[in-house]
């Protein structure tokens, strides 16, 4: 299971329908300006996102601007669990907890900590073992899962990441033909180190 170095899902983009091309081009080209987070908050969140979903590519795929856009427009997910603050409050609380925790434990801002130390801080926040009182009052794991899921939804919506995981990509009006086990259509990703599909 060594990945798909030769696979580029966007190589097929001429065959995608126009609506899908429009949506994906926008996503790649237009990075929203920050409206919700202030620069300090954005810096801390950038640092956290880099640990929640580490990217090993030369140009990182932007995630925080899309989180910011979701919050600025208050695009909710349909569920607010009891004892949980509103989505916007939750994200502000998460960011302030990052810095508060880093300061109390290490007397530094979160973003200047070593990666390993950042992970320890995130781990404590996940388990509700943070020293931040407001964070202690909410269901920590549920809140943390919301944060990570939101970040992951944005990240795994980027075509470069689709190539990385060998996903087939938008398929319309095209059609998958060889769908049985052990078979694949020629344009689907072949995995290095995998002899048979």
């Amino acid at each position: 299971m060594e990945g798909y170095p030769d696979y580029d899902v966007t190589a097929k983009q001429d065959s995608w329908d126009s609506k899908t091309r429009f949506v994906l081009e926008r996503r790649i080209v237009i990075v929203p300006k920050l409206l919700f987070f202030n620069p300090d908050e954005a810096r801390s969140l950038e640092a956290a996102v880099a640990r929640l979903l580490p990217q090993s590519r030369p140009n990182s795929i932007p995630v925080v601007p899309f989180v910011d856009e979701k919050l600025a427009r208050n695009v909710t997910d349909g569920t607010r669990y009891e004892n949980m603050p509103s989505m916007c409050e939750l994200w502000r609380l998460f960011v302030s907890t990052l810095d508060e925790e880093a300061r109390v434990r290490h007397e530094k801002r979160f973003d200047v900590l070593e990666a390993e130390t950042q992970d320890m801080v995130l781990g404590a926040i996940l388990k509700g073992e943070s020293r931040s009182l407001p964070w202690k009052k909410i269901p920590a794991r549920l809140a943390f899962e919301h944060i990570v899921s939101t970040v992951a939804a944005i990240y795994y919506a980027h075509p470069s990441v689709w190539s990385e995981i060998g996903w087939g990509g938008p398929k319309y009006p095209g059609i998958y033909v060889r769908v049985r086990c052990g078979r694949k259509d020629p344009e689907e990703a072949g995995e290095v180190g995998h002899v048979r599909d």
């Binding site: 299971m1 990945g3 995608w16 329908d17 609506k19 899908t20 429009f22 949506v23 994906l24 996503r27 640990r51 929640l52 979903l53 580490p54 695009v75 909710t76 997910d77 349909g78 569920t79 607010r80 669990y81 009891e82 509103s86 992970d119 995130l122 996940l126 794991r141 943390f144 899962e145 990570v148 899921s149 992951a152 939804a153 944005i154 990240y155 795994y156 919506a157 990385e164 995981i165 060998g166 996903w167 087939g168 938008p170 398929k171 319309y172 009006p173 095209g174 059609i175 998958y176 769908v179 049985r180 086990c181 052990g182 078979r183 694949k184 689907e188 990703a189 995995e191 995998h194 599909d197």
Partner: protein
């Protein structure tokens, strides 16, 4: 704000999803004037993007609801649609009938409540909606009262569905390609399935029989008026104790729609919110709520995924999202330690949903999450549809917080009962066995629930139920509730086929009563 008179119709329907669209089509076809109001937009299937993220924020009811209880449920994504077609625009499309015993759990198993109707009452309507939707299915369906035939042949099975069936075979369990709301041969207006696994995110080729591409065009053909982006905010009762009109907001303006007969088909949260919010001197506890059970007996299906990792490439993005199933353990009896029913089904997860499964099911984040996502193509996802028994303590109520229309936000309270938990335990174990037998080297569970049922339950006794066996409210003669909320119990199957069958039956009844009055 001044209220604009929007006119009068024989029948006014609130919500154009699985039930509302069937009602609109059949009532209009019978010659009645029909106005159907839908809170969301009326989309063209061509406008769907082949993109998971944008569709996740497009097709679902994402206004905030407050979720509480011991097992608080996720309300947006798995459950409610917004827009013409409702939840059928994003359902997986299993078209399963209830079994005979599912209508009489109290008599047979001593739990839940008996429906006031039997399988035989609904049978002709199951057949009718299967035919109209051109359900595709196997030559022989091994369980329950209906073994086929189905209007169209089954789909080609892709690797993940085959993997499930191979596992079933190895443990000696029968399995089948399920009856699906997905056509297997194209028609003039509808293209074939492209096997791209986007059933839950808007079917561009219109191969999936959402009501958006089946009953809605039929309703329009017969002259029904469907008003999209029309959020109904109140049901207005007249001096005679009958519903006179509904108030709705459309493009920032308020309208009043009058009518003879009103049908709420807004599903188990919004229908309840509307009834409880529409109080008046004669209905201080909410409309049609003299029993006090409006909003009570909420049921879901346990819908945990069991996800297995394989050496071989599964590529779960291909194929219809659901196809293979088994009901080998459908009817459990006291000797099993629990009663009632579940179905095991395949359901593919596209990358974003799969990342959520890893985050919530395995607790992953950081490098481990990235690494497991790289192995996406090696995972197969099986799911359960477990029956949950009705309980008075599982409820939809109004919170203190108002939404943008000034209606109190819904508060949904849910806790599994003991029997529900045993069903989850048993069915998850069976999924693990199937994965093991099929060659998975590890599995994990991703808990969840789906479907919202039961908050306006059907029954003969006006003291313990909201609607009668025709979905007419006991309290208000010209008000019907027809959607998943009338379910007395939930069975162990996906509810859409039954919702549509109930709607088809209610439509016939409404037409009949109108005719009788004319005579």
């Amino acid at each position: 704000m001044s209220v604009t008179n929007a006119g009068h119709a024989d029948v006014v329907i609130v919500g154009v999803g699985a039930a509302g669209a069937v009602l609109a089509a059949k009532l209009a076809r019978a010659g009645l004037s029909v106005v159907a109001l839908e809170a969301g937009p009326h989309r063209d299937s061509e406008d769907f993007a082949s993109d998971e993220l944008s569709m996740l924020y497009e097709l679902f009811w994402l206004d905030e609801r407050i979720s509480s209880g011991k097992d608080p449920i996720e309300l947006g994504w798995p459950n409610s649609g917004r827009g013409v077609g409702g939840g059928t625009v994003h359902f997986v499309g299993y078209a399963l009938r209830f079994h005979e015993d599912d209508f009489r759990t109290k008599t047979v198993d001593g739990v839940g409540e008996d429906w006031p109707i039997s399988y035989q009452d609904l049978e002709p309507y199951y057949a009718e909606v299967e035919r109209f939707n051109q359900v595709s299915g196997p030559t022989f369906f091994p369980w329950g009262p209906h073994q086929g035939p189905f209007p169209k042949r089954s789909h080609v099975s892709s690797c993940m569905h085959d993997t499930f069936r191979r596992g079933c075979e190895r443990i000696g369990a029968r399995s089948t390609a399920g009856p699906m709301f997905i056509i297997t041969s194209p028609t003039k207006d509808r293209k074939p399935c492209t096997y791209r696994g986007f059933c839950k995110f808007g079917c561009k080729p219109k191969a999936k029989s959402s009501t958006l591409v089946t009953y809605v065009p039929e309703a329009l053909r017969h002259g029904a008026t469907i008003i999209a982006n029309a959020m109904v905010t109140r049901v207005n009762i007249g001096k005679t104790g009958r519903v006179e009109s509904v108030t709705y907001v459309h493009k920032g303006r308020e309208f009043e729609q009058k009518g003879d007969t009103f049908i709420l088909s807004a599903y188990s949260v919004e229908t309840v919110r509307l009834l409880l919010h529409s109080t008046s001197a004669s209905f201080p506890n909410g409309l049609a709520n003299s029993s006090g059970v409006v909003g009570k007996f909420l049921m879901v299906h346990s819908a945990d995924f069991v996800i297995g990792k394989y050496d071989a490439m599964i590529r779960q993005y291909r194929g219809p999202q659901g196809l293979a199933l088994t009901q080998e353990w459908y009817s459990r009896k006291p000797d099993d330690g629990f009663v009632r029913a579940y179905t095991l089904e395949t359901e593919t997860l596209q990358p974003i949903e799969f990342s959520k499964a890893l985050i919530r099911g395995k607790g992953l984040w950081g490098q481990r999450l990235v690494d497991e996502m790289r192995d996406y193509n090696h995972y197969a996802s099986f799911g359960i549809v477990g029956e949950c028994l009705p309980s008075e303590n599982n409820t939809v109520t109004l919170s203190d917080e108002l939404d943008e229309f000034g209606i109190p936000r819904a508060k949904v309270t849910y806790s599994y009962l003991d029997n529900d938990k045993k069903i989850i335990e048993h069915s998850v174990r069976k999924c693990e066995e199937i994965h093991d037998a099929a060659g998975a080297f590890e599995t994990f569970q991703y808990p969840g629930s789906a479907h919202l049922l039961g908050t306006c339950r059907m029954g003969d006794d006006p003291k313990t139920s909201v609607v009668d066996k025709w979905c007419r409210t006991h309290d208000v003669k010209n008000l019907y509730v027809c959607d998943g909320s009338v379910f007395t119990t939930g069975a162990g199957v996906n509810p859409t086929l039954t919702i549509e069958a109930l709607a088809a039956r209610t439509a016939d009844y409404v037409v009949e009563t109108k005719k009788r009055r004319e005579l």
